[in-house]
């Protein structure tokens, strides 16, 4: 096997293996780029996005600082939800805990003065399904969530290898070198103009 053969095969097999991620990132970028269109489309249906599931009496102190994860831990265990989760302070009187899976999103609102938790499920939407998957990453959730983070790194590595192996393939084909330079230089210049003017 020659170097060029290995280079070609790396480009191909890596692309085939990572094609579900590549496809997912492509499709999910459409609702990100046309967010207003998808929001208006959904609004026209006139269906509320959240449905109340339960209301539970609850009283727990909320930490003063920005780190609310230990509090979210307690709430998630109490209500028996699974998925990636986190919490944020909606107001001085309300803390929201969100629990997310690719297929389902739930928020648990803690009303400090009323001493109660209100659980709400978000209606499934395909655009949210894709954008949620697109935005998922990081290593702060543990378990399979972190393995997904590793896959995101692998996709990044795959993209870099595509660029490198692709450039090597292009350089080894004299017949496409001229127009290739035109494409590459015009891309770099266009991008440079955006950086300068945007």
């Amino acid at each position: 096997m020659t170097f060029h053969h290995l280079n070609r095969r790396t480009h191909l097999y890596l692309a085939l293996f990572l094609s579900p991620w590549f496809w997912m990132y492509g499709v999910s970028s459409i609702p990100f780029s046309h967010n207003q269109y998808f929001e208006e489309l959904d609004k026209a249906k006139g269906i509320p996005p959240w449905t109340k599931r339960a209301e539970i009496p609850f009283e727990q102190p909320v930490p003063d600082g920005p780190e609310l994860r230990p509090f979210a831990d307690q709430v998630v265990k109490l209500v028996g939800l699974s998925g990636s989760y986190g919490a944020y302070r909606q107001s001085p009187k309300q803390v929201n805990v969100y629990v997310y899976t690719f297929w389902k999103s739930t928020q648990v609102k803690y009303f400090l003065e009323e001493k109660k938790l209100v659980m709400e499920d978000r209606r499934f939407r395909w655009d949210h399904f894709f954008t949620g998957m697109h935005a998922k990453g990081g290593f702060d959730q543990g378990g399979w969530h972190n393995v997904w983070g590793v896959m995101v790194d692998l996709v990044c590595l795959g993209l870099l290898l595509w660029v490198v192996t692709g450039l090597i393939m292009w350089c080894s084909l004299p017949v496409v070198r001229g127009w290739g330079w035109v494409a590459l230089v015009s891309g770099v210049v266009s991008f440079g103009v955006f950086l300068w003017r945007l």
């Binding site: 085939l16 997912m24 990132y25 492509g26 970028s29 990100f32 207003q36 969530h145 393995v147």
Partner: protein, 195 residues
């Protein structure tokens, strides 16, 4: 003939869009490891004073927040995509920019206009570029960038489809290719089930 055409478009499109691929790749990596690059919780952006002056302009009667912001930006020669907030007599305008975003703070009482620029930070820059999209701003340049993002999306879908075609034509690579494809789909389906 079709294969040759697909091969050429696949290649030239990739060469043209190389800067976009690199920026989206590096920004994805930076966001996936945000703690490494920006700390936990992510550090707030740092601002550096550019100028401070009394703003001599006059708002038309009944001007709302958006109109005031646009007027200040225009008089400073800084018209462009921005967001504005008004609170406690202060109008804060965040002027978008790829490399150094600006913050203009106008205090109504003293008519002071403070202009600050964001200190350049690589991870924040990459994240800004990654998130910049959409046609919500009334500026041609913003729409052109948004169009380039759509073009990139179309290219991703085209690369995938044309890549399948080109693979299938290589009889010698069909078996191992199928293995890679099935492996990828299997792992992806597993994540769909468990996450």
């Amino acid at each position: 003939m079709v294969s040759k055409l697909l091969r050429r478009i696949h290649l030239y499109l990739a060469l043209f869009l190389t800067p976009w691929v690199l920026v989206y790749t590096l920004s994805t990596f930076a966001m996936n490891h945000r703690e490494w690059f920006r700390g936990k919780p992510p550090a707030s952006p740092k601002w550096e004073k550019v100028s401070e002056q009394v703003w001599e302009g006059q708002f038309p009667e009944g001007a709302d927040r958006a109109a005031k912001a646009r007027m200040i930006l225009t008089t400073q020669g800084l018209d462009g995509a921005h967001q504005a907030n008004e609170r406690d007599g202060k109008l804060v305008i965040q002027r978008n920019a790829a490399i150094t975003p600006l913050r203009l703070t106008y205090t109504a009482e003293s008519r002071q206009l403070l202009v600050e620029k964001q200190v350049v930070e690589a991870a924040a820059f990459l994240e800004r570029m990654h998130r910049r999209r959409g046609f919500q701003h009334p500026y041609a340049l913003e729409d052109t960038w948004a169009f380039s993002v759509d073009f990139f999306i179309a290219a991703i879908l085209f690369w995938t489809l044309s890549g399948f075609w080109l693979w299938w034509e290589l009889k010698v690579a069909r078996r191992l290719g199928a293995l890679a494809l099935i492996g990828g789909f299997g792992i992806f389906a597993f994540f769909l089930k468990v996450l």
